[in-house]
């Protein structure tokens, strides 16, 4: 059962809406507005689920994913991103290592923005 959720997302308005909705459903929600503080929280605490935006300041989403993978963090990982696949390839070619592609394959699910909140809740609840 999922109880404790960490949201790493730099848009504070997005964080507020997600926080309000998920708290109402009885989850314990923690927020990080950049990759660095997200990473610190992952080290300090154990989360059942991590909701991660890819384009965040100070350690982008890929670096956080890499960290999760290397440290064998057992949390469910849901990536939320505004990137579509076709654009994704082009942008990654410029900004990231090809390895980022493989990192994305290891996460539990990827939701493309703008997604419906019920989709996120379903992904969180999915066993």
């Amino acid at each position: 059962m999922i109880k404790k959720i960490l949201i790493i997302e730099d848009d504070k308005d997005m964080c507020n809406e997600l926080n309000e909705a998920l708290m109402d459903l009885g989850y314990q929600v923690h927020l990080a507005f950049n990759g660095l503080s997200g990473k610190k929280m992952i080290v300090k605490d154990k989360f059942d689920c991590i909701v991660l935006d890819l384009k965040i300041p100070k350690y982008d989403g890929y670096q956080v994913l890499n960290f999760i993978h290397k440290n064998n963090i057992r949390s469910k990982v849901i990536v939320i991103t505004a990137r579509m696949k076709i654009h994704y390839e082009e942008i990654t070619r410029r900004n990231h290592e090809q390895a980022d592609n493989d990192l994305l394959k290891k996460v539990d699910s990827v939701l493309i923005k703008p997604f419906k909140l019920i989709e996120l809740i379903n992904e969180i609840e999915k066993p």
């Binding site: 848009d11 982008d60 909140l117």
Partner: protein, 396 residues
């Protein structure tokens, strides 16, 4: 007459005859030498005249051919003698060229043109387009009157075609660059717009969930804010897509500045940022600019400053001065600053280190300021802040 006297005279005549003979021979030799020299010189001129890839014709003041060179005759598949005495315009009637020929005759000034397109060859047969450098030079008599002219023609079709090919290739390159820029732009804008949309989507879920049980003011407020953000992104895109020649008008820069500050405060309503305007006494506030474009520049710079200020109390200073017929605006913030390595790239389109941003703000600003014949410079220190200086001439 005495016999001796006679003899003497005879001898003397004979001597004179001998002398005359000698002179005659000398003259004859000289004459032959001169003739040879003239012949040689003629040959030389003839050789120069004929051994060239330039078509040359010598015409009299009535445009009758006096002489053409081999190249001219060969090009038209005629003999050199064919031309002698014939009238140029009887062979090649053309009103426009006749005007040009007459003008050279009247004014005594050469006519020279490069790479002109001819639709016909010199036999008036329709032909693939050819291109020519051609000229008409007046020839003067001893009274400095024009009594003839030299026509030269040089086929430069190959050169012009190569040039055209080069231009075409360049255009194709530009076009494909524009397309790839457009692809990047579309990706950046799609990405940017999806963020505020996803927040609106989440807010709608919360409104639906509360349904009269709890106030929905915060969600309505968030939605409105995200719509403004989305609108800003679209405006940026449109501005970049069609930055045009400025529509110059007299405008009050301080009013524009206040409008910009108002706009940015709407987007960042709760941030604790103080804005200080420092206006020097002799500052001239009215200036010839495109107010819409310059406001866009101020918007972009202030937005950057607001976004760069995190945690601690932010201060943005705006200095306005008039220096040497130029308006100088300096915007100083105490935000995060920019890495030295990134500083030279901030004016490149699509360059951004922000998690939210198209990377177009400063390239748009740079483009607009250069269209105003102004200057925009940036200086920054990481974790100290950024200074932007805009210089604009008062008169365009």
């Amino acid at each position: 007459m005495k016999h001796g006297e006679k003899d003497f005279k005879k001898k003397s005549y004979q001597k004179q005859i001998e002398k005359l003979k000698e002179t005659g021979i000398k003259l004859e030799v000289n004459h032959k030498r001169l003739q040879n020299e003239i012949k040689q010189k003629n040959n030389l001129l003839e050789r120069i005249f004929s051994n060239t890839h330039i078509l040359i014709a010598y015409l009299d003041e009535n445009f009758n051919f006096i002489q053409v060179n081999n190249t001219y005759a060969n090009y038209n598949k005629k003999s050199i003698n064919y031309y002698t005495g014939k009238n140029y315009f009887a062979l090649y009637p053309d009103k426009e060229y006749k005007k040009i020929f007459n003008r050279v005759l009247k004014t005594g000034k050469s006519y020279i043109i490069f790479g002109e397109k001819f639709h016909y060859d010199r036999n008036m047969e329709k032909l693939n387009d050819s291109y020519w450098d051609w000229s008409l030079h007046p020839v003067f008599d001893t009274d400095k009157k024009v009594d003839g002219m030299i026509l030269t023609l040089l086929d430069v079709t190959e050169r012009v075609k190569a040039q055209q090919e080069l231009i075409n290739t360049k255009e194709q390159l530009l076009q494909s660059k524009r397309l790839s820029d457009l692809g990047l732009l579309a990706a950046a804008v799609a990405h940017e717009l999806r963020n505020p949309l996803s927040v609106i989507q989440a807010a709608l879920y919360n409104i639906e969930r509360k349904k009269g049980k709890a106030p929905i003011q915060p969600q309505l407020y968030t939605i409105e804010k995200k719509i403004r953000e989305g609108d800003q992104i679209i405006t940026n895109l449109l501005t970049y897509a069609k930055i045009k020649i400025p529509d110059f008008k007299k405008a009050d820069i301080l009013t524009l500045l206040d409008e910009s500050i108002g706009m940015v405060k709407l987007i960042f309503p709760i941030e604790n940022i103080q804005i200080n305007k420092i206006i020097s006494d002799d500052f001239i506030r009215f200036i010839e600019i495109d107010p819409v474009q310059i406001k866009k520049v101020l918007d972009n710079i202030l937005l950057n400053s607001f976004q760069s200020i995190k945690k601690r109390k932010g201060v943005i200073e705006i200095h306005a001065k008039t220096v040497n017929n130029h308006m100088v605006l300096t915007i100083v913030d105490n935000g995060e600053g920019i890495k030295k390595a990134d500083l030279s790239r901030v004016f490149e389109p699509f360059f951004t280190r922000k998690s939210r941003g198209t990377g177009l703000g400063l390239s748009i600003s740079m483009e607009i300021i250069s269209l105003h014949n102004g200057k925009i410079t940036i200086d920054s220190k990481l974790s100290k802040g950024t200074t932007i200086v805009i210089e604009l001439p008062y008169a365009k």
